[in-house]
């Protein structure tokens, strides 16, 4: 039985061949970046720099030296949130946010008295500009936006919210975990102040890679301090970027893979990848609506033809618990999906699925039409079985 991997929103499985080749080459040749000046150290230092530059180009940022690497987007978001928010600050977040945003905010509320308001999602998982208008006040320090919900795949129209936030004097932190690499994104054109990304989802790099991009006018206090390879006698973390937010040895091997992946995406074009994903999304939705018995399926999210949407579909089938459905898809059809709460408690509550969870199908640029069709057939059979 062929494995059909539809869990790309969690992590990519299929990647361009150049990614593994770059990692293998790095494993056999890299010393530690910026910890010496011999070829074994300068090689990884140049590779890491190339990775910063590729990401900056891909995501519309003209300061590659302020692309700071972390182990993943969770660490990047923690770095940004703990580094931006002080005692009693007010922050506006949303129901779309992942626990990688929510849990640090809860901790900040407990430890620093940070006040948090959430823009609510409606039954289709949509956010409203009117709610931001109500919640963001002239005293708001930060607005945290998730570009695309990891549960519904809904994509936020960023420009009006960023504009509103800036008009009230707030900074904007963007969680681009689900969109970097598969939906065009221009950080500077949008005016985003800090952008957090992960390397292993649509960017198709190795796990253990991620980071944050910090606009030059923004000061983020470091989450970690330690070795940087420069200014060793200073007792505090250097103010210069990227070292300001990078303590300890970087994942040079992983970043070599990420640099290769980003190069592949730049060559392929995010527009091309997005068009591929959107075509598969339409095929999946059309197939499900056509093949499943009427009333047997509940889809979550807002699917507007022509509007950007992350390659994510969450659903439940009548007569199936979400966990059992995911298990049947794996066991009977070899299809990998993700059941449960998806680290998105507020989004599930907004959709009314906090008790049932849902099954999420997510795909990427190496997913084929045949695999989508196979998922439709499987879900149609399982939906019929439960009638």
């Amino acid at each position: 039985m062929e494995t059909i991997y539809l869990n790309c929103a969690a992590t990519s499985l299929d990647r361009p061949a150049c990614v593994a080749e770059a990692v293998m080459a790095a494993l056999g040749s890299f010393g530690s970046a910026a910890r010496g000046t011999s070829p074994t150290e300068l090689g990884p230092a140049r590779s890491v720099t190339a990775c910063r530059e590729g990401l900056a180009q891909l995501l519309g940022f003209s300061h590659p030296e302020r692309v700071c690497f972390t182990a993943n987007v969770t660490q990047a978001l923690n770095c940004a949130l703990w580094g931006l928010l002080g005692e009693g600050d007010h922050v506006v977040a949303t129901d779309w946010d992942h626990n990688s945003v929510l849990r640090p905010l809860h901790s900040l509320a407990a430890e620093r008295g940070v006040r948090v308001d959430f823009a609510p999602a409606d039954a289709l998982g949509r956010l409203s500009l009117a709610d931001f208008d109500h919640l963001v006040t002239p005293g708001t320090r930060l607005v945290v936006l998730t570009h695309a919900s990891n549960l519904t795949g809904n994509v936020l129209d960023l420009a009006p919210v960023v504009s509103l936030a800036h008009a009230r004097g707030a900074l904007v932190l963007l969680d681009a975990a689900q969109t970097a690499g598969c939906i065009p994104l221009d950080m500077e054109a949008l005016g985003v102040d800090v952008l957090c990304f992960t390397g292993h989802k649509a960017l198709m790099g190795p796990q253990g890679t991620g980071g944050l991009m910090v606009a030059p006018h923004v000061e983020v206090e470091p989450l970690l301090s330690g070795g940087t390879g420069v200014l060793s006698f200073e007792e505090t973390q250097p103010r210069s970027y990227p070292e300001h937010l990078e303590a300890g040895t970087l994942n040079g091997h992983g970043l070599a893979g990420l640099a290769a992946a980003v190069g592949w995406i730049l060559e392929t074009g995010v527009d091309t990848i997005q068009a591929h994903d959107q075509a598969l999304l339409s095929r999946l939705l059309g197939g499900l609506r056509e093949s499943l018995p009427e009333g047997s399926m509940t889809l979550y999210g807002d699917f507007v033809p022509g509007a950007p949407h992350a390659p994510v579909v969450a659903l439940n089938l009548r007569g199936w618990e979400s966990s059992s459905l995911a298990d049947a898809l794996t066991g009977d059809y070899g299809i990998t999906t993700r059941a449960g709460a998806h680290c998105a408690p507020r989004m599930h509550r907004a959709l009314g699925t906090q008790d049932a969870g849902s099954v999420r199908l997510s795909f990427g640029c190496f997913t084929s039409e045949e695999q989508i069709d196979a998922a439709v057939v499987a879900l149609a059979e399982l939906a019929t079985e439960a009638l």
Binding site: A33, A34, R35, G36, T37, L42, A45, R46, T49, R52, P64, E65, G229, V230, L231, S232, F233, P238, R239, S240, Y241, P242, E243
Partner: protein, 78 residues
């Protein structure tokens, strides 16, 4: 064996990124030199520095404008 010393202009940096950007600009501009460990006389550090013949210093300074930031340049016998 006693290694012969020679005059070098050495630029230091506050960031590895800037050192590597300097290296790239110098290579593109045909400015002779190479990355070396930060000389102790510039500060006991583990960072990178750019070492070049003293006569290359004006070209280096010109190349830096708007492209990269260096901390300082010192002439040393290395």
């Amino acid at each position: 064996m006693v290694r012969a010393r020679r005059a070098r202009a050495v630029a230091s940096f506050d960031s590895t990124h800037e050192a590597l950007e300097a290296e790239r600009c110098c290579h593109e501009g045909g400015i002779e030199g190479r990355i070396i460990p930060m000389p102790v006389s510039l500060g006991a550090d583990c960072g990178m520095a750019w070492s070049m013949p003293p006569e290359c210093r004006p070209a280096f300074e010109a190349a830096a404008r708007g492209r990269f930031a260096y901390a300082r340049i010192v002439e040393l016998e290395l």
